[in-house]
């Protein structure tokens, strides 16, 4: 490992930050503005890719600005960036996917004619800059700096819709992530106090191994809790489903890749480069973390089963999948580490595909709810095929990216003696099939008028007081009885799930006053619903169809969710949506497949091998 002094890490971070200025300046000219975004994305990707050969050869690129903050006594904390294998893994991933997402954003934002697009693209560039900064940070303090900046830069994206739901989600997001930031700050201070430094050292900071174990445990707990907020470890996950109110590209890149993985990445740095696997093992902190992760894997998968809003289901799937990575790190076994780290890119490609598909469906048909997607394979064949491939990968079926990482994870967990954890992984695989397969199945093999019932979504927990699946018109008394059975108000999707078009009705109530035509259209929309509406507008849970409320307000004509009257029209692959959206979807899906078929040809696996070798001394 040789350190190479270079400005490239700095440039990689700064390119997208600098791009904010021209993006803001060309606010009146969308094409020019998006050119800046693309230019910045390609430059960021190019710069990080240019460092791959060197890092694979064992070099580390370092940009050092000298002392930033004092440490204890003679120690000090430098403001420095470094591109080592682990950092480059994340930076490369974030910048590569930003290129794809930028294209997709153009199609998505223009397709919906969203407001404040300039702010959106500027904040997006800022978020990527901060995420790359997290990746390339040289020590815990610099990592914290970018971690907090990432929170600030993402906040405008979460609140983008400017609806009450979006603002509430934004507040929750800030409260959770800044709360996590406070824990990280406290943990960092203790580490600096114990060791006089915060520099990442492969295999852990030596002084930490000899310091007071109680203090070291406290620091570890604080750091992992703080990073765990963004990594959506339960019970600190609940900001993530709420943040799905953001535009889909944001959910895709930031809330499945950059932001959440910055939390996971933080945990990875803490485990591998601050404490080191051995010290973590000596402190006995690996097992509790693994238990939390395994719990999150299983419980989040179960909750995902009951989400009818596609993006919320994907969000809970993200919560679950992120914990795969954390579990891999917590088991402290070389192969589990490799599996966990490899799952960072694998999950990124697959989940990005899934989110892109959800966004494409939203833009083209304004449908967000799974219960309204029966037969949508006719309308959007390419999208749903990509969705199917990515779902297979999430479940860990071979030949798609998720298989390779899960394989390593399983072997690692068995080697670590954690049969329970291997069991959790397998159960989660089954649950993945259970919550993804129905979407794919109904898209291709059911039609909008002949849809099977979905007992998991429609029925209350425990199966008592099951409502009649066809709903009927006696809706006034039915929800009251049904909501009594809801055990978990936090997952308040219940009334909504059963009444998927509440939002249309609620929203149209305001439109009705001003436009008789709109009212008429609403009634049409309601009457041709396969799953009936009911009148439970005063239900205890607000509907969560954020995107809908927002773009209904923006768009001149009134959209409604679900299939149009007369069913989905059949479209060819080339005309189902714009290439701005289909292109990124297919690219991301291809990436997922390539990672699954030839993992050793892609830089990620080799970077992971270097990281594991550096941290544990084991060559895979």
């Amino acid at each position: 490992m040789t350190d190479v002094s270079s400005l490239r890490p700095l440039a990689t971070v700064l390119v997208s930050a600098v791009a904010i200025a021209p993006i803001l300046a060309s606010r009146g000219r969308p094409n020019l503005r998006e050119s800046w975004t693309m230019l910045a994305a390609l430059a960021t990707f190019g710069l990080s890719a240019s460092m791959v050969p060197g890092v694979l050869a064992g070099d580390t690129y370092v940009t050092d600005f000298g002392t930033f903050l004092p440490g204890v006594e003679s120690g000090s904390v430098a403001f420095a960036l470094q591109a080592d294998a682990l950092g480059l893994l994340f930076a490369l991933l974030a910048s590569a996917l930003w290129v794809i997402t930028s294209l997709y954003s153009i199609g998505y934002m223009r397709g919906l004619d969203e407001d404040s697009q300039t702010r959106y693209f500027a904040a997006f560039a800022g978020s990527v800059s901060a995420a790359v900064g997290v990746a390339l940070a040289d020590n815990l303090v610099v990592l914290f700096v970018f971690y907090e900046l990432l929170t600030v830069a993402t906040y405008p994206l979460v609140t983008h819709d400017q609806t009450d739901e979006a603002r509430a989600a934004g507040r929750k997001y800030l409260a959770y992530t800044f709360g996590g930031g406070v824990a990280v700050l406290a943990g960092t201070l203790i580490v600096v106090w114990l060791t006089g430094t915060a520099d990442f050292t492969a295999g852990g900071i030596a002084a930490l191994a000899e310091s007071d174990p109680a203090m070291a445990r406290l620091a570890f707990t604080l750091l992992v809790t703080g990073f765990g907020v963004k990594a959506a470890l339960m019970p600190m996950h609940s900001w993530l489903p709420d943040a799905m109110v953001a535009p889909t590209p944001v959910s895709g890149l930031l809330h499945a890749v950059a932001v959440v993985k910055s939390g996971v990445f933080g945990i990875a740095r803490v485990v591998l480069d601050v404490f080191g696997p051995e010290t973590v093992s000596d402190l006995g902190m690996g097992l509790p973390l693994a238990v939390v992760a395994a719990f999150t894997i299983v419980v989040a998968s179960i909750i995902a089963l009951r989400q009818d809003n596609l993006k919320r289901r994907l969000a809970f799937s993200t919560v679950s999948q992120l914990s795969y990575i954390v579990l891999g790190l917590a088991l402290l076994e070389p192969r589990a580490l490799a599996g966990g780290l490899l799952h960072i890119p694998a999950h990124a490609f697959m989940k990005l595909t899934l989110f892109f598909c959800a966004g494409a469906i939203h833009v083209e048909t304004h449908t967000d709810d799974i219960s309204e997607m029966a037969g949508i394979g006719k309308r959007m064949p390419g999208t749903m095929i990509a969705f199917g491939i990515a779902s297979l990968g999430m479940a860990g079926i071979p030949l798609v990216a998720g298989f390779v990482s899960k394989w390593y994870l399983l072997i690692g967990s068995v080697q670590a003696g954690g049969v329970v954890f291997a069991g959790a992984l397998l159960v989660s695989g089954v649950l993945n099939v259970a919550y993804f397969w129905p979407i794919v199945y109904q898209a291709f093999f059911e039609s909008e008028d002949a849809v099977g019932s979905k007992p998991l979504i429609e029925n209350p927990f425990g199966g008592r007081d099951a409502p009649v699946p066809d709903g009927g018109r006696n809706a006034d008394d039915e929800p009251a009885g049904a909501t009594d059975g809801v055990a978990d108000p936090d997952e308040g999707e219940y009334a909504v799930d059963r009444n998927p078009s509440d939002h249309v009705v609620e929203h149209s109530a305001s439109k009705r006053a001003e436009s008789p035509d709109a009212a008429h259209a609403d009634e049409d929309a309601e009457s041709d619903r396969a799953v009936p509406d009911d009148a439970d507008h005063n239900g205890p849970y607000e509907p969560e169809h954020y995107d809908h409320v927002a773009d209904d307000e923006d768009a001149p004509e009134h959209h409604h969710a679900g299939p149009p009257a007369g069913g989905w029209e059949r479209r060819a692959l080339s005309s189902e949506t714009t290439w701005f959206m289909l292109g990124p979807i297919l690219t991301a899906a291809t990436g997922a497949v390539v990672l699954g078929i030839v993992p050793d040809r892609v830089a990620f696996l080799r970077l992971v091998e270097i990281v594991v070798a550096g941290a544990t001394g084991v060559t895979l």
Binding site: V141, Q162, A166, G181, L185, W193
Partner: protein, 525 residues
């Protein structure tokens, strides 16, 4: 050439008199006198600071009396920081005040007197002299707070005067005890006599400490002695709010640190652990209570005022730790807070001048209407929250590291979670500015989205003063000003430059820490 030292105090005071006299010849000449005075003051203090960097602390005895009897002026690293801060902030606010007013010559007279008083407080080495400068500062502040049109500011100023005088009198009483016990008033001499002859646990010394600290707590506005502060900041003209929020409490906090550590010394705190504990407790309560009260405010300037209560809690917390890192942090935070809070008040003033918005509710959709002002306000707010790598974060890092070093875990918890407390009130503002639509008040038509010249009538009613007699909102003393003045380039420039500095100066803190390190070491030895 140490003769420059007394000039640093004399110059603003002389300029103050000149401003008053010039008003007899030509009204509205005050700003120019103040400009010349402030520029000269900046140059002078910069030169003094340069000498301190080069040669170490400067001591000057007024009128050639021998030291324990004559008044001594001392400029070390910390007092140099303060006098430069005072001079630069005053100049910055002046750039803002040119258009925003108040414009009368007496105003600028009081303005310069305040600068002189604060400079004197910073460099004096004599306890009674500190009292005199404290009162000069107080007098000038009362006058400045009352310089807004209408009764609200007069009531606030009178209240400030009564409470402030009690505070200063308690401080004087504390000095009296110290004098009775030691027979001297020179700070260095006092420290020596207390240490050698009187002893740290003598009742007189303890009583003196208590009175001095409580008296200065009033001036610093530590909870629950802050009652004068929110109304004074909220009702004063925007330029004055900025100036006094940036400087008066700051220099008072400096005086507190100076008196505790130079006069009573660390040994006193060691001999009386209860005193240190009470300081820390007061600080922690101030942080929490100030933040909670800030969240409850509907008027933006009052919110900013309560925020100061919380932030000075942090400074006092740092001071109570008696740790070098924390002490450097206290000064970084003093300077950082002065810059950020002063600019936040100026930014609030820009917003009020351009749109008439003074309450949190009225800030809806400000990002669309006033992008530059709102952007600067947001950046300053985030810096205040302590988002890294801003100045606010760096100061907090030093203080928190000091708390870790001394093992003060409870205080550490308060310090790091103050981020969340600060976020609670600023996030509310930011959300309204950028993520809510602007709903035009009834009677107001056709608001240009990003234009400053919103029609005035509807807004003036909503103006913070809210008095029928005060219909002109931001009118000047002369009363012939237009209804709504445009925001001048100078007003924007000050706010934007301050926002940029708040973000970038964090990088320079380590250098600054090297510079004050020897002074702090001596202070705490």
């Amino acid at each position: 050439m140490t003769d420059l030292v007394p000039i640093a105090v004399a110059l603003p005071i002389v300029a103050s008199v000149v401003a008053l006299l010039a008003g007899l010849v030509r009204s509205r000449s005050g700003w120019y006198v103040a400009l010349v005075g402030s520029v000269a003051q900046v140059a002078l203090t910069a030169e003094l600071a340069r000498r301190v960097v080069a040669d170490g602390a400067i001591r000057y005895v007024v009128g050639n009396f021998s030291v324990p009897y004559g008044i001594e002026l001392v400029i070390d690293g910390l007092s140099a920081t303060m006098i430069v801060l005072v001079a630069v902030t005053a100049l910055g606010v002046l750039a803002y005040a040119r258009r925003a007013g108040p414009r009368s010559n007496p105003f600028y007279g009081a303005y310069l007197l305040l600068v002189g008083g604060l400079t004197g407080m910073s460099i004096t080495g004599d306890l009674f002299n500190l009292y005199v400068f404290l009162e000069i500062t107080g007098l000038a502040t009362y006058v400045l707070v009352g310089s807004e049109e209408g009764g609200r500011s007069a009531v606030a100023a009178l209240r400030y005067l009564l409470v402030g005088t009690v505070g200063a009198s308690l401080f004087l009483l504390g000095i009296g005890y110290a004098y009775v016990a030691t027979g001297t008033l020179n700070m260095a001499d006092l420290a020596a006599v207390i240490g050698e002859d009187v002893g740290y646990t003598a009742t007189l010394i303890r009583a003196s400490f208590a009175f001095v600290v409580v008296g200065l707590f009033v001036k610093v506005a530590v909870f629950p002695l802050h009652t004068w502060q929110p109304e004074a900041y909220a009702s004063a003209p925007d330029s004055v709010s900025a100036l006094i929020s940036a400087l008066v409490s700051t220099v008072s906090a400096y005086a507190l640190i100076r008196v505790i550590y130079t006069v009573f010394t660390v040994d006193f705190l060691e001999a009386n652990p209860l005193a240190a504990d009470l300081l820390a407790a007061a600080a922690a309560v101030s942080v929490v209570a100030g933040s909670v009260l800030a969240v409850a405010q509907s008027e933006v300037k009052r919110m900013l005022a309560y925020s100061s209560v919380a932030q000075f809690g942090l400074v006092v917390a740092a001071a109570s730790l008696a740790n070098e890192t924390a002490m450097i942090g206290a000064f970084v935070h003093l300077v950082g807070h002065a810059m950020m809070k002063g600019s936040l008040f100026l930014a609030a003033g820009v917003v009020a001048t351009a749109t008439g918005a003074r309450t949190v509710d009225e800030y809806d959709g400000l990002g669309e209407r006033l992008p530059v002002g709102a952007g600067a306000l947001a950046v300053l707010a985030l810096a205040m929250v302590g988002v890294p790598p801003t100045l606010g974060f760096v100061g907090k890092w030093y203080i928190a590291l000091g708390a870790v070093e001394t093992g003060s875990w409870a205080l550490l918890a308060v310090i790091v979670s103050s981020t969340l407390l600060t976020l609670a009130y600023f996030a509310r503002l930011i959300e309204r500015i950028f993520f809510r639509e602007y709903a035009a008040p009834a009677g107001e038509t056709g608001v240009a989205p990003d234009d400053a010249d919103v029609p005035g009538d509807a807004d003036v009613v909503a103006d913070g003063n809210g008095l029928p007699a005060d219909g002109n909102g931001v009118s000047t003393d002369d009363g012939d000003a237009p209804l709504r003045e445009d925001v001048s380039f100078g007003m924007y420039a000050v706010v934007v430059v301050a926002a940029l500095l708040a973000v970038t100066l964090g990088a320079a803190v380590f250098e600054y820490a090297q510079f004050v390190q020897p002074t702090v070491t001596r202070l705490l030895s």
